[in-house]
């Protein structure tokens, strides 16, 4: 698209995009590091993730303030106005991704030194890889103004939901089998839920990009596979011959 007559307007808009790019990079690194800290039981790395969140918060405030200033000074319309509203919305989503990664960091500190079921850790890593892939793709879609790539991200979120559901069932089983694992499994449950919500923020960003590029909302039912709200794992029946009520 052609430049504005007032070229400093283009500089303002470019600055917003640059900040979103920086926020995206920080959010990706926070989630990568939070997951690595969880898998490797690395308290130092978890602390680093927690400390990084401040930078993301500061950038979000900056994007908001600059966006409002541009609206006041330039009275943007059409795609320019959507550009600013979108930057403010995406900054909010990325800030939340940072909060979720930070929360994983805090939980790493809470459960450090505990044994974690290996199969669950593989599942968490896999889920994190999927979420990072979504985050990477949706940030690419933003940088290249590609509504189709954004729509593809939006349609793929069901994979993360399905994985979260199976992890939940697995963790419930572990907790039932060994009550000593309950506190660390409960934290792992929240870690998985945090990653699942990173996926949700990616779909929010995808919707925003679609609106930014086309001026229309992304409509239709998103394919969902989140049955975790209904998951129940029944305890195994007591074996025959055991007296009733025994543990």
């Amino acid at each position: 698209m052609a430049d504005h007559i007032v070229s400093s307007f283009d500089v303002d808009l470019g600055g917003l995009r640059h900040s979103i790019g920086e926020m995206g990079g920080i959010a990706e690194k926070m989630l990568t590091d939070a997951t690595a800290a969880l898998i490797r039981d690395d308290a130092e790395l978890a602390q680093a993730v927690i400390a990084t969140d401040q930078r993301l918060d500061a950038l979000q405030r900056e994007v908001e303030e600059r966006g409002i200033l541009i609206i006041a000074r330039r009275q943007p319309l059409a795609v320019d106005l959507r550009e600013i509203v979108s930057a403010i919305r995406i900054a909010g989503d990325l800030e939340r991704v940072g909060d979720l990664a930070k929360n994983i960091g805090k939980r790493v500190l809470a459960i450090t030194g505990h044994m974690h079921p290996r199969r669950v850790m593989i599942g968490v890593q896999h889920m994190s890889d999927l979420a990072l892939g979504q985050l990477n793709d949706v940030l690419d879609a933003y940088m290249s103004n590609d509504a189709d790539v954004a729509a593809a991200v939006w349609a793929r979120d069901g994979n993360i939901d399905a994985l979260n559901n199976s992890l939940l069932r697995e963790l419930l089983t572990y907790m039932m089998e060994d009550p000593r694992s309950i506190s660390s499994c409960a934290h792992l449950l929240f870690c998985a839920k945090n990653i699942e919500r990173v996926g949700d923020h990616c779909t929010n960003i995808a919707e925003t990009i679609h609106y930014l590029v086309t001026g229309e909302p992304l409509v239709g039912d998103r394919p969902k596979d989140d049955r975790s709200s209904f998951a129940i794992v029944e305890p195994r029946p007591a074996s025959a011959g055991e007296p009733e009520g025994s543990l």
């Binding site: 698209m1 007559i5 330039r74 319309l77 059409a78 795609v79 320019d80 959507r82 001026g215």
Partner: protein, 52 residues
């Protein structure tokens, strides 16, 4: 009906917007569309301050 080069006034007061350029009717439609999602490239470039 008002004719104005001041876009803010046009956007505030009207329900329908016609964009005329050098005597040519470029676009006619709801004001919300003209200012938020114009169908014509020239309308878009005008309302976003890319020419004119």
């Amino acid at each position: 009906m008002i004719a104005t080069p001041t876009m803010q006034r046009g956007a505030r007061l009207s329900q329908l917007t016609v964009f005329l350029y050098l005597g040519e009717l470029v676009e006619l439609g709801p004001t919300s569309q003209a200012f938020m999602n114009p169908g014509e490239k020239r309308t878009l470039n005008y309302v976003t301050g890319r020419f004119g």
